[in-house]
């Protein structure tokens, strides 16, 4: 794995035409804990796994609000991610100030990508070690982009980055064709299931994941732990997810979704809890 001769500087090409420092930066993204994004025509959901270093410490913040209509989930060097979020917020505020309208997401990601590219072509800089899943809403609908340390960016229907993200990607690849017309609830459900995939058997609890939603008529918000736990309880079938077991649950979820849609707010709690699920789901007094 070590290509020692040509990997000292980002400004040194290898004979095969590769910039190893940039590739190493992309490795850093793969080492970070997972972040997942999905979008429908009207909503974008971002989810991430929060792993704290120890039971004593708090977990790192990986999802940031950039503006009412844009949010970002990061994986990799979270410090770099924090700095880039600050940049994105600043750009959104300046655009709003000058043009009295929200910054289109597509423009923001290009600016981000250009910023990342600069760091791949200066001898005194290093590439950013963070991958960003930028979710946003503009006049042309909901969008999800992935920004690489290399300065590339791509638009996705759904994507996952970070460690063990392949499991989530496999799940998303199976289901992504349905996402365009998904309801908000189904989208969140898929995000939570994809997050669970990355945990490789560990139980999904709201204390180790963060979910954020934004969409038409709904400014970006990070769902609070209680809401997330209730959603997990509603959607979680102990063990498998998929088709057969999913049918009856989808009905219950659809019924609850109808109520929740009218309510509009993030609170799903309400009626649809079956008794036993509520008991086992009651957020465990963690740590």
């Amino acid at each position: 794995m070590f290509r020692n001769q040509y990997d000292t500087d980002v400004t040194t090409w290898s004979p095969a035409g590769r910039l190893f420092q940039v590739e190493y930066a992309m490795e850093a993204v793969k080492q970070g804990s997972a972040a997942i994004g999905l979008r429908s025509k009207t909503h974008v959901v971002l989810a991430c796994v929060n792993k704290a270093n120890s039971e004593l410490s708090s977990h790192q913040k990986k999802i940031f609000k950039v503006d009412d209509h844009i949010g970002v989930a990061i994986a990799g060097l979270t410090a770099d991610g924090r700095v880039l979020s600050r940049y994105m917020r600043s750009e959104c505020i300046n655009h709003s100030f000058t043009y009295e309208s929200p910054l289109p997401v597509g423009r923001l990601v290009v600016q981000l990508a250009d910023k990342a590219q600069v760091c791949t072509q200066r001898s005194w800089k290093r590439p950013f070690g963070v991958g960003l899943l930028v979710g946003g809403l503009d006049e042309s609908g909901a969008h999800l982009y992935y920004n690489c340390p290399s300065g590339n960016y791509f638009e996705y229907q759904a994507f996952a980055i970070g460690s063990r993200s392949q499991a989530a990607k496999t799940y998303l690849e199976r289901r992504f064709e349905n996402f365009v017309d998904s309801s908000r609830e189904d989208l969140i459900r898929d995000a939570l299931i994809a997050t669970r995939e990355t945990l490789q058997g560990e139980k999904l609890r709201s204390s180790i994941c963060t979910v954020a939603v934004l969409g038409v008529g709904e400014p970006f918000q990070i769902l609070d732990q209680e809401t997330v736990q209730q959603l997990i309880d509603k959607f979680e079938l102990v063990g498998e997810e998929e088709t057969p077991a999913a049918e009856p649950d989808a009905d219950a979820a659809a019924a609850a979704a109808a109520d929740a849609d009218e309510g509009g707010a993030a609170e799903q709690g309400g009626g649809a809890e079956p008794g036993p699920a509520a008991e086992q789901g009651a957020a465990p007094m963690d740590i």
Binding site: S90, I93, S96, F97
Partner: protein, 258 residues
């Protein structure tokens, strides 16, 4: 035309004996004529859109009000322009003066508030916004915002507070205040009704009025009705914003249109 000695004659006109003679002083007229000369200047300025604003603080509420007339000289530009802007959850600013500068100031403060929210994960308190406004105004000390502001809201304990400013950021926390073209008419009346204890007293006395919320609103309506009578730049409609623990609500009252 000062100092160069290029002036050929006294500007007073043909009557002066110095006409046709070169003046060596830097004055426009010779010394004798200067005593008689009175330069006439127009006092009308386009950089003033008129209007008045008032704020009154209570124990658990704050009332901020401004008329909705925008004028330029002797013309009315519109009868329906809001001079009041919500800066934060419990903080509202009313500004009179040059509305273009007011608009720029409001946008700047809104952007700064957004930055604050990103950094601190909470809304700015009224006293914090008061300091920010003062700093923002002083930043342009040598090309000021032509904006005369009153800031009203609830402090972190839920008590009403009013801050009054001049154009370059000098500010003070008071129990009530007015700014704008009608302030010379309004302020003495408010002093009469709400006399604030001096901020120099020790121990410090509470400046907020003991009036109830509805009494304060009535007082404000009375005050504007009177100011409208005599100040040509104040009138059309009164916009009243009331901030209390429940939130912010708006009321309107018609004023004389002449």
């Amino acid at each position: 035309m000062a100092g160069t000695g290029e002036i050929r004659s006294c500007s007073d006109g043909g009557l002066c004996k110095s006409a046709g003679k070169r003046l060596t002083t830097e004055f426009l007229s010779c010394i004798k004529c200067q005593v008689k000369l009175t330069k006439q200047q127009a006092n009308w300025s386009p950089y003033d859109n008129g209007g008045s604003c008032v704020a009154v603080a209570g124990a658990d509420y704050c009332v901020v009000a401004a008329d909705t007339r925008m004028s330029s000289g002797y013309n009315i530009l519109t009868r329906d322009y809001s001079k009041i802007c919500k800066l934060a959850d419990k903080c509202v600013m009313a500004s009179s003066g040059f509305q273009a500068d007011v608009k720029a100031l409001q946008k700047l403060l809104a952007a700064r508030h957004l930055i604050y929210q990103h950094q601190h994960n909470k809304q700015m308190s009224c006293p914090a916004m008061a300091q920010l406004l003062s700093n923002t105004l002083y930043y342009k000390r040598f090309f000021p915002y032509y904006s005369f502001n009153v800031l009203g809201g609830l402090d972190s304990e839920g008590k009403g507070c009013v801050f009054t400013y001049d154009a370059v950021g000098s500010y003070e926390k008071v129990g009530y205040s007015s700014q704008g073209s009608g302030s010379t008419l309004i302020m003495p009346f408010l002093d009469n009704q709400l006399k604030s204890p001096s901020p120099l007293l020790l121990p410090a006395l509470d400046a907020v009025t003991p009036l109830s919320e509805s009494e304060a609103v009535d007082l404000v309506k009375t005050v504007f009705a009177s100011a409208t009578e005599r100040d040509i730049y104040t009138g059309d409609k009164l916009e009243i914003v009331i901030i209390n623990a429940e939130g912010i609500r708006r009321e309107y009252m018609e004023l004389r249109k002449d």
